[in-house]
């Protein structure tokens, strides 16, 4: 199937069909309403055009149909709200998958890249700090934290396994961005100072994109990331390739030990100078 | 037909108000929304902040109390100025209006001492969001006080020439200036506990 065209992009998520269905229901409703209006409009214009012998009416009759029409629109909007929007939103925003079964990632946006943080084999994110952020450590991972030693950081590469729920914690370092996975029907503003969770689950593998949907500066247009849905084995293999090398971990551990032995007050800032 | 605009000095028979009175109240309604947005900002930032100092630990409550009393007194002198004018006593009007202007200046003098001592201790708007809120809210209020002083001074001296020609219109102007001045007082009545006492 074609991924992208002149309509909704391909949907590879488990929840997206609900959003798509809502979009199409509304558009059919809009089309019916508009075409009805428009035909009536054209007919009226033709029938009541000014011409010789045609006189306008002063006391127009009271039309009942529009009242029914307006009531119908109101009822339909209630259906849209109660039948579609509320439950879909609740499903997407409130009913998170089982945390134990899900893959956890952090996505930290910055001008103009997506930093992805995987917790590594221990399943726990190590400590991060804005003070540690620099070009080689854009996530500010504090490698003196033992839980951070196995953490994996990638830039503009979000890989996930297929058929596995993913919980992503979204935030931003600088300005507001918006984390948009068109094929996943996921879009969420990433706001500095806030951590906002989203979840999604892919039902199909493939190479897709992360897009930024909120104006974030002159590089907004090229703030593109790669979003790859892998078969589970491929994903495990890819993740292993991204993991820190044993010698890196050894260097971090040594640096942490050295920092801990010194009686200075600010070890966290000084520690990760191993690069 | 000449271009005379109705209801400048005499109230509209149906609405019962003059143009300037209605216009002034509409202006004050917009001011309610202006300060409303700033109070809203205060509430949002304070409730979203992990810790927020009590105003009295950082700010000078006795000075602010003095300022509250000054501003309330000036509101009374303002309304007395209007009442004197309604009793057609221009001399007393001058006395009360003059007091209002002086009290307004007094408020600013006290305020400047307060600001001065904050700056002396290197507390600036950039220090933290508490000081940012404090300086912005009191600063905007201070600008309103200055505007009121200018307006009242105008009505005290050159503006009062209108009294001889159009007494009703002048009385209406004094009442409008009074409404504004009371509103400035009213804003302070909320600013004072919110910033200093909580």
């Amino acid at each position: 199937m074609q991924k992208y065209g002149w309509s909704l992009p391909i949907d590879v998520s488990t929840h997206g069909y609900q959003i798509d269905r809502l979009i199409w229901v509304i558009h059919w409703f809009m089309a019916v309403l508009f075409v009805g209006w428009f035909l009536f409009f054209l007919y009226t214009l033709f029938r009541f055009r000014a011409r010789a012998g045609h006189k306008p009416e002063h006391h127009e009759k009271h039309f009942k149909l529009p009242t029914y029409l307006e009531a119908g629109v109101a009822v339909f909007e209630v259906v849209l709200l109660v039948g579609f929007s509320f439950p879909i939103w609740a499903h997407i925003r409130n009913q998170f998958p089982d945390e134990k079964k899900a893959l956890h990632v952090r996505v930290v946006a910055e001008q103009f890249a997506w930093n992805v943080h995987y917790p590594g084999p221990d399943g726990v994110f190590g400590r991060t700090s804005p003070a540690l952020m620099n070009a080689s450590n854009p996530l500010g991972i504090d490698r003196t934290d033992p839980r951070a030693l196995d953490d994996i950081a990638t830039i503009n590469q979000l890989h996930i396994p297929v058929d596995t729920p993913v919980i992503a914690q979204l935030t931003s370092k600088d300005v507001i961005h918006s984390f948009f996975l068109p094929v996943m029907r996921v879009k969420q503003d990433t706001t500095p100072g806030q951590q906002i969770p989203v979840w999604f689950q892919a039902k199909q593998t493939g190479d897709f994109e992360i897009a930024c949907a909120q104006l974030c500066g002159l590089g907004h247009y090229r703030m593109r990331g790669f979003f790859v849905v892998d078969p589970k084995e491929t994903f495990t293999q890819w993740l292993a390739e991204q993991a820190p090398k044993p010698e890196e971990i050894a260097a971090w551990t040594a640096a942490a030990a050295a920092a801990a032995s010194k009686p200075v007050a600010a070890p966290a800032v000084a520690a990760p100078a191993s690069h | 037909m000449d271009a005379t605009i109705h209801h400048i000095s005499k109230p509209h028979p149906v609405t019962g108000v003059t143009n300037s009175k209605l216009g002034t109240w509409l202006f004050l309604a917009s001011e309610v929304m202006l300060f409303g947005s700033l109070f809203s900002a205060y509430v949002l930032i304070r409730t979203g902040s992990p810790s927020w100092p009590h105003g009295w630990t950082l700010l000078n409550v006795p000075l602010a109390t003095l300022n509250t009393l000054i501003l309330i007194t000036s509101s009374v002198t303002m309304v007395m100025a209007w009442a004197s004018l309604a009793l057609k006593d221009l001399g007393k009007y001058r006395l009360y209006m003059g007091s209002t202007v002086l009290l307004g200046l007094g408020f600013l003098v006290v305020k400047s001492f307060e600001y001065g001592s904050k700056f002396a201790h290197h507390h600036y708007p950039a220090t933290d969001t508490f000081y940012a809120t404090y300086f912005t809210l009191t600063g905007l209020h201070g600008l309103h006080v200055i505007g009121g002083i200018v307006l009242n001074t105008y009505l005290l001296f050159p503006g009062s020439a209108l009294w001889k020609k159009e007494p009703d219109q002048f009385l209406g102007r004094v009442e409008a200036a009074g409404l504004y001045w009371h509103f400035v007082d009213l804003v302070w009545i909320f600013l004072f506990p919110v910033l200093y006492l909580l």
């Binding site: 209006w37 009416e57 997407i92 068109p182 090229r222 | 940012a132």
Partner: protein
Amino acid sequence: MSQTNGHSHPHGAAGHDSHELPFWRKYIFSVDHKVIGIQYAVTGLLFLFFGFCLMMLMRWQLAYPGQPLPVPFLANLFNETQMISGIMLPEFYNQLGAMHGTIMIFLGVVPLAVGGFGNFVVPLQIGAPDMAFPKLNMMSYWLYFIGGILMLASFFVPGGTAQSGWTSYPPLSVIASSGQTWWLVGMAFLINSSLLGSINFITTIVQLRAPGLSFFRLPFFVWAQFVTSFLLLLAFPPLMGAAVLQLMDRLAHTSFFLPTGLVVNGAPIAGYSGGGNPLLWQHLFWFLAHPEVYVLILPAMGIVAEVIANNTRKPLYGYKALIYSVVFLGFMSFIVWAHHMYLTGMGTGMSAFFQVTTMIISIPSVIILTTMILSLWGGAIRFTVPMLFALAFLPMFGIGGLTGLPLGLNASDIHLHDTYYVIGHFHYVVAPGTIFALFAGVYYWFPKATGRQMVGWLGKLHFWPSLIFINGVFMPMFIQGMAGVQRRLYDPMQYAHAQPTQVLNVVMSVSAWLLGLAQIPFIVNFFYSIFWGRKADQNPWQATTLEWTAPSPPPHGNFTSEPVVYRGPYEYASPDSKSDFWPQAMKEKN
């Protein structure tokens, strides 16, 4: 220009009253609502044209990304911080985007719709000699003018003008170059201008209606302006507050909108304490900016109602339903603002509340549109140029309104938010909607303002191409939006999901340039008719409302004698009257 036609001046005292004023008091620093209205309208039209030019430049980049402008003359207008050998830079694209929005809304449409038509028409339609506060009125215009000059000047400051979108979301806007400060100061002038204007309008409409002109005899246009003024009065101050806070953030380094731990360009931001919240701006901004949408659309609905009643030669259907709807619309517009913020991490409860209010607000819009279409039923429709524009407004606004539905429901908004779908939606409301209505107003009231008619065939030559090409510009945006193409992209070819719709960008851009060409008949018509147009009498459209009881153009003080109103605004085809219309101020049967 209101003095081009002297012959229709009545013999009364009105004429010589205005002769005593020197030129600069009469036409430049005038306190006459008609002159101020025309000043507003002309300045607004100029800004609309300027904002349109910014858009036409952007459309080149969108259709042919990275290619130099084909017209060397144009390319030479720009310096190396804007274009390099005719190739637009992304910074400059963002500046054009931000300023296109700002200029079209705050310097173009609102001044034309409210400042222009409101000022010129409202006192005439209520039978008043002028606005309640003429000097304040003059001050409104000059504050607007200064605001506009500041906005234009900001293009030339180092770093260029504002480039964080017309929405100016922090932290981006706080860390942006100095053009943003100019934008904020300019906005402060525009806000205060609108504020003074709205106080003036409300007071005028409440206090200065002619004898017999009760609220339920007011033309719908006056009602629309009345509600609009309340929106300006109560919704603009929070933006003023927000602008003050953003100025403090930029100039005094406070952190109202900056959270703790901001890292910009790889280093923790210096000189800011943090502790603020970027979403505070969005709440205060949209508290204004949603009612602002209705500020744009309500006067347009008012114009359309006037033109439709006049050109169907029958009363408006459901006049009272229209009024109740417009009041309800105005009221509700204050409590829907956060539907612009569904994807900011808003809680489920808040989001549900704002969805419900958003669905509720769609009902009066549907009623207004249905009522206006039903007004055509039973009429004898004259297809004059103002009527063509007013008729086109109906389906165009219909599209704009309907496409708001999927955006107003948060679940469908997830996919469509911040895509071209949104751009298509609000442009249908504002461009072929409001701006078409404004054109209807220009053609309709031109004879009143100048004493001359505009040329009919030139008007039709303006209308038909405009209608076709404006749909060519905005209709494809819905397809792009469905495909997920984000808004505010300098180069749409970067994304795989945007590439299949790139050909639509060419279609839209060519349509936009042709739309530009389609305005030439209007410009020619406008200036030709001021000087050489067919002379119009007092009531060329045979209309009922009070402005047509005054001479064309009305003298200082407007009416030869104070009008008295005997009936509702749209007494067309009345069986009690011998002619097919019965003016509000005419007592006897004619």
